[in-house]
């Protein structure tokens, strides 16, 4: 009986719905065009924002590379040098290194246009008929007031501070065992202490473990919607420097407490031509673990430095709780009896409906957001540094069950420790 009834009912519903043609509603096309225009503006906004961001990012990268372009030098320690002009010049095929006792120290092949460069300076090799000489002195990199020097001679010593004994002091080129050497009456070498070399070794960038807190805020407002999100995160990060480059791989685990609020108001006209004002509010609270995979580029400088960072975050979400409230404000006509006469008047009533949902399961969202940030890093002590890192997260996939995507911006405060 029930089966037959259901079958007939389903047929009836199907036929009625398929045969039904809804009459055109006045203003429907205009309403559609208005929405379409708003959508178009929104797309243009994101389009131009995207172009502007890309140009800015590209310019930054080019600028950073121009500032920091350097070729690694195949000598034991980095050097910064001051030019020592010589009256003649000729290019060298090779030079060799000697100390003041005329012991050869190192053979360094140098070809035409070879640039022996540091982060800022380029050594220019100059020579005379039988010898060439270049000397530069300067402080370098992270080691303030520690100097290196280099002397280059045609088929003659290239002597730089790192390889000289502590007591070298002055280099007497007149006594160098080469013919046709002009007098070069300059102090060529500088005292170098053993700790300088040790210092260099210890200044290498190493793995850092950091602890961070990161409040953030985001909003995504549509035509009649106001979507806002606040998030508070805290967790552990790990910075692993990539060898021989200014890049660092950044990852970690950050616990997030996310709150999303979606408010929407809608003015509708009821059948009795009375206005209804519908107000929807949806509040979602969710916990998640953020697993970032970022690449950080360090802008070269001394102890304090800036960096830019970009990458993706994957998320494990759990404990999603959503509360949806719909409130309808509408005018209603109330009839009442006064001394046998029925009178009516209009009052405004509010009807509220609330639903709550809980999801306790966990879900993995690969590539949830695209991360872009820049930061400032400075030491607190020799092993502890602090970082201030404003960031922007662009959602690629929604983390919530209702496909909400909200771009967020915030600031991370980190303390990192070198083990």
């Amino acid at each position: 009986m029930k089966v037959h009834f259901d079958k007939v009912l389903a047929n009836k519903i199907r036929n009625e719905i398929l045969d039904h043609e809804e009459t055109y509603e006045d203003g429907a096309w205009e309403r559609f065009l208005t929405r379409k225009e708003k959508r178009k503006n929104r797309i243009l906004y994101w389009y131009f924002t995207g172009i502007a961001s890309s140009v800015l990012l590209f310019t930054s990268i080019v600028w950073i590379h121009q500032k920091s372009g350097h070729q690694p030098l195949d000598i034991q320690n980095p050097i910064s040098i001051k030019e020592f002009p010589l009256p003649h010049s000729r290019l060298l095929d090779s030079i060799s290194a000697k100390d003041n006792s005329n012991h050869f120290l190192k053979d360094i092949p140098i070809t035409f246009n070879s640039n022996v460069s540091t982060s800022r300076d380029t050594i220019k090799l100059q020579n005379r008929t039988n010898y060439g000489l270049a000397l530069k002195t300067d402080s370098y990199g992270n080691i303030s007031e520690k100097e290196r020097s280099i002397v280059a001679l045609t088929r003659a010593p290239i002597i730089y501070g790192n390889t000289l004994p502590n007591v070298v002091g002055k280099m007497d080129l007149l006594n160098a065992p080469f013919k046709n050497i002009d007098l070069v009456n300059e102090e060529l070498t500088f005292h170098k202490k053993e700790k300088d070399i040790k210092g260099l070794g210890s200044k290498r960038r190493s793995v850092e473990i950091g602890f961070q807190i990161s409040p953030s805020y985001g909003s995504n407002n549509g035509s009649s919607q106001a979507l806002t999100s606040t998030n508070f995160g805290g967790g552990v990060t790990l910075n692993v420097p990539i060898k021989s480059s200014g890049f660092t791989f950044n990852t970690g685990v950050v616990f997030n407490d996310l709150r999303l609020t979606n408010e929407e108001s809608m003015l509708a006209t009821s059948e009795a031509s009375m206005e209804e004002d519908n107000f929807y509010k949806e509040e979602t609270r969710m916990n998640s673990l953020d697993i970032p995979l970022n690449i950080q580029y360090r802008i070269p400088s001394k102890r304090i430095f800036f960096y830019i960072q970009a990458g993706m975050s994957s998320y494990v979400t759990f404990n999603e709780n959503a509360v949806s409230t719909k409130t309808t404000f509408r005018e209603v006509e109330v009839f009442y009896d006064v001394n046998g006469t029925t009178q009516s008047f209009r009052v405004k009533e509010a009807v509220s409906l609330k639903k709550e949902s809980d999801y306790e399961g966990s879900k993995f969202h690969p590539l949830g957001t695209f991360n872009l940030s820049f930061g400032y890093k400075a030491p607190l002590t020799d092993r502890i540094k602090y970082e201030i890192q404003p960031f922007y997260k662009l959602p690629l996939n929604s983390l919530t069950t209702d496909n909400t995507k909200v771009p967020m911006g915030g600031i991370s405060l980190k303390v990192s420790l070198t083990p």
Binding site: F5, E16, K36, K355, S357
Partner: protein, 146 residues
């Protein structure tokens, strides 16, 4: 609009679904295959938009009230008296998940496997929702004729 009305709880949501469908239609008109039925293509897009709307509200769809069953069924002949407004009213009272499953199965002719893929629910859930939808409809129609 008729398709939107069949899938949505009220006219406001149906309007939004239809607007979204028209935007998609204008955006992808170049991809329309002229060997196929234009009406069918539009219908398909509208149904997809209705399913998107369903997905957006998915998190609130698991709250199904337990309703009274076991009412005496009215005579089958009485069903002929139902008009489109009655049907919209009855369908509008159905929870969204039940209404969508019912429409996809009974009106569009999808099977449970296809419905489960479209809506992101289990195949057995689809069967359960269809059974519940029919139960609800039976109960509502019975009340309607009382």
């Amino acid at each position: 609009m008729a398709i939107g009305m069949a899938y949505c709880a009220n006219k406001d949501i149906a309007r939004e679904v239809v607007d979204d469908a028209f935007m998609k239609i204008f955006d992808s008109i170049d991809t329309f295959d002229h060997n196929q039925s234009f009406k069918g293509w539009v219908r398909r897009i509208t149904i997809n938009c209705a399913i998107d709307e369903f997905r957006r509200n998915k998190k609130h769809l698991y709250h199904l009230d337990v309703t009274d069953c076991g009412l005496d069924l009215p005579a089958v002949d009485l069903l002929e008296k139902l008009n489109i407004d009655d049907i919209h009213q009855i369908m509008g009272e159905l929870p969204e998940i039940l209404r969508t499953v019912f429409n996809l199965y009974e009106i569009e002719g999808y099977n449970h496997k296809e419905i489960s893929e479209l809506m992101g629910i289990g195949e057995s859930s689809s069967r359960t929702y269809l059974a519940r939808a029919k139960e609800r409809l039976r109960s509502m129609v019975t009340r309607h004729f009382k």
